[in-house]
């Protein structure tokens, strides 16, 4: 479903040439749960932005569901993002002073047809991430974990082909992070393609496959024999808390 072929990304500012991605090629099948891992500054976010059609590679080809996005214009790329891609960011990027419900239905505003039952769709998406009792809360009335779950609901409302998450647990405590990872595993089990970007090996090993980036190139691409079970970790955390108390 995702085919990358010799993807390069080079930034030129004045005399300085930064070759961030230096020929990345891989394929991801529909329904896979893949982690893109690597140290900070190795080009993970750059790669994810290209995968999300937010940025265009300097060279190479990227086919999403068969369409090569390299030659598309702004409008077509925007439409592609709206229809096929759900983003989750480290900083949540929720609109402040706006309720969870309105945040979640934002992608529908940019859809070709605004569905009549947008509000109900938003409620259903929030229910799916366990926030049915926070529907009309604003971001500043929610914890970090809850905010990230609102962001996940927002990413899912258009029923995208791919969920892209860039360091989704980076700003969260262990427990909230585990909750987010549990949701991703649920989604993956339900057949959704999930691509997770992280610098953290522990987080990456929740996925079924890990692509290791080093200095703009693929250093390793391997299956994870025993993916970590986020649900189990959550239970352990809870037990730990009970003992502690």
């Amino acid at each position: 479903m995702i085919e990358l072929e010799g993807i390069e990304k080079t930034y030129v500012s004045g005399e300085v040439v930064t070759r961030v991605l230096q020929g990345i090629s891989f394929e991801i099948e529909a329904g896979e749960y893949v982690a893109i891992m690597g140290a900070s500054g190795t080009g993970k976010s750059t790669l994810m932005n290209i995968l999300g059609c937010l940025d265009i590679p300097t060279a190479g080809h990227y086919r999403l569901d068969g369409t090569d996005m390299v030659n598309l214009d702004d409008e077509a790329l925007s439409q592609l993002r709206n229809r096929k891609i759900g983003f989750v960011f480290q900083q949540f990027h929720l609109l402040q002073r706006t309720t969870a419900r309105k945040n979640v239905l934002l992608p529908l505003i940019y859809a070709e047809d605004y569905p009549e039952n947008a509000e109900e769709m938003a409620e259903a998406a929030l229910e799916m991430v366990g926030l049915h009792d926070r529907i009309d809360y604003r971001p500043n009335q929610l914890s970090g974990g809850q905010q990230q779950r609102v962001a996940i609901a927002r990413a899912l409302i258009t029923n995208p082909a791919v969920l892209l998450a860039d360091e989704p647990t980076g700003n969260l405590d262990r427990r909230s992070g585990a909750e987010v990872m549990a949701i991703f595993q649920q989604l993956s089990a339900g057949g959704r393609t999930v691509i997770l970007v992280t610098h953290d090996r522990e987080v990456a090993e929740h996925a079924e496959r890990v692509i290791l980036l080093d200095d703009g190139q693929i250093a390793e691409d391997r299956r994870v024999d025993q993916p970590r079970d986020a649900e189990q970790e959550l239970t352990n955390l809870t037990v730990g808390e009970e003992v502690y108390e």
């Binding site: 937010l54 409008e75 993002r81 229809r83 934002l106 505003i109 940019y110």
Partner: protein, 403 residues
């Protein structure tokens, strides 16, 4: 439909930041309010100009005794305008349908038994009626025979009739003008008041000009010459010819001030417009300044807002907003501000206009036109000053906006 939803995203941040929205609107409010007041006063003034020109006579000119100002009644102490001047105009100036003299005295005491009043006295010829398009409602006009025989007759205005005769029929009754007894032969049609600062048109008494000059006022000069031209377009040229003729007859060379003046509909309109002109110019400056400064403030607040909302813009792009959608959102925000400001400003302007109407003699007419002009200006200001911030927001590369 998609457009509508995208555009309506532009209202959200206005409602969320009410104080900021108010600062963005302030200039538009003041500017549109000032524009509204200019237009209501302008329309009132033009209506008054039309009425005054109608009253004066669209084809009429007046040669009036006394120089140094544009309008008003003859100067009582100027005694240089004579019947001979009037005859000279009749002889030498072409294209005049009527040329008729008027002797004049202000606040002349009139008595009938114990009833008394004061009224403007005019000594006239029968042509006066045609020259003013003003005829008797009851009785008879002044005749050529009355003038020839210095008849002791008069035609009175309706206010004089009311003050001296009440509900009685005045025709054939007599009254005293400066101790001279005259008989009322007619009552003029009502004309009412003359608008801003104008006196009561109906508080007047007409005598045959000979009777007025010889029997009542005992003077050799007249107050004015009333003229009706055959062609209104010739008026400026005729006025110039009359000025030349009069200067020659009165031996006046230009640095010296004229002892006469010529009134025309143009001069009348000029005087009426003059009263509101200063205010209108001030308001125009205020409107222009407010709209411009307000627009610049609006633009800068929007630019700051674009900078503050970089992440929001990036996020919107990530979930599917095109550059055009972002442009639409910010332009809608700008236009919403100016339209809201326009509504408030129009209401404020209408309120101020009503206050002006009640508190000053300036004429004011409320109508839909200021509202239409307000909409046009709201659109212009909102679009002009909103384009740059909207374009900047639309051009943000999504990747950088999200960093």
């Amino acid at each position: 439909m998609r457009r509508f939803h995208v555009a309506s995203e532009g209202w959200g941040s206005l409602r969320a930041n009410k104080l900021r929205t108010f600062f963005m609107m302030a200039g538009t409010i003041v500017g549109i309010a000032a524009l509204t007041v200019i237009m209501t006063i302008g329309k009132g003034t033009e209506r008054q100009v039309m009425r005054r020109v109608e009253n004066f006579g669209p084809r009429a000119m007046m040669l009036v005794a006394g120089g140094g100002r544009a309008t008003g009644p003859p100067d009582a102490q100027v005694t240089t305008l004579t019947l001979a001047d009037m005859e000279a105009i009749r002889d030498k100036i072409s294209g005049l349908e009527i040329v008729t003299p008027q002797a004049w005295a202000t606040r002349t005491p009139l008595t009938r038994g114990s009833a008394q009043t004061r009224a403007t006295l005019w000594g006239v010829e029968p042509e006066w009626h045609a020259a003013w398009d003003w005829y008797v409602a009851e009785g008879e006009e002044i005749t050529h025979e009355d003038v020839a025989t210095m008849a002791r007759v008069c035609v009175i205005g309706s206010s004089v009739k009311r003050d001296l005769f009440g509900d009685e029929d005045p025709i054939g009754e007599s009254l005293y003008v400066n101790k001279v007894r005259v008989t009322v032969t007619g009552v003029l049609e009502r004309r009412g008041t003359a608008g801003t600062g104008g006196g009561d048109f109906d508080n007047r008494i007409l005598l045959p000009i000979t009777t007025a000059m010889r029997r009542v006022l005992n003077v050799e000069h007249i107050g004015a010459v009333r003229m009706i031209t055959t062609d209104a377009r010739r008026m400026p040229e005729q006025a110039e010819a009359i000025t030349g003729l009069m200067r020659r007859r009165h031996r006046i060379t230009p640095p010296a001030e004229d002892d006469f003046r010529i009134n025309s509909p143009l001069a009348v309109a000029e005087v009426v417009r003059g009263t509101s002109r200063t205010l209108s110019i001030l308001l125009m400056v205020l409107a222009g300044l407010s709209l411009f400064v307000g627009g610049v403030v609006l633009m800068n607040i929007l630019l700051i807002s674009v900078a503050e909302r970089t992440a929001e813009i990036g996020l919107r792009r990530a979930v599917g907003a095109t550059r055009g959608d972002i442009f639409t959102q910010f332009l809608t925000e700008s236009l919403s501000v100016t339209f809201l400001g326009m509504v408030v400003g129009s209401a404020l302007g209408a309120g101020v206009s009503l206050a002006v109407q009640h508190l000053t003699p300036l004429p004011v007419i409320l109508s839909w036109e200021p509202f239409a002009v307000g909409i046009a200006f709201a659109f212009l200001v909102g679009a002009f000053f909103g384009v740059q911030p909207a374009r900047r927001a639309a051009r943000l590369p999504p990747v950088e906006a999200l960093r």
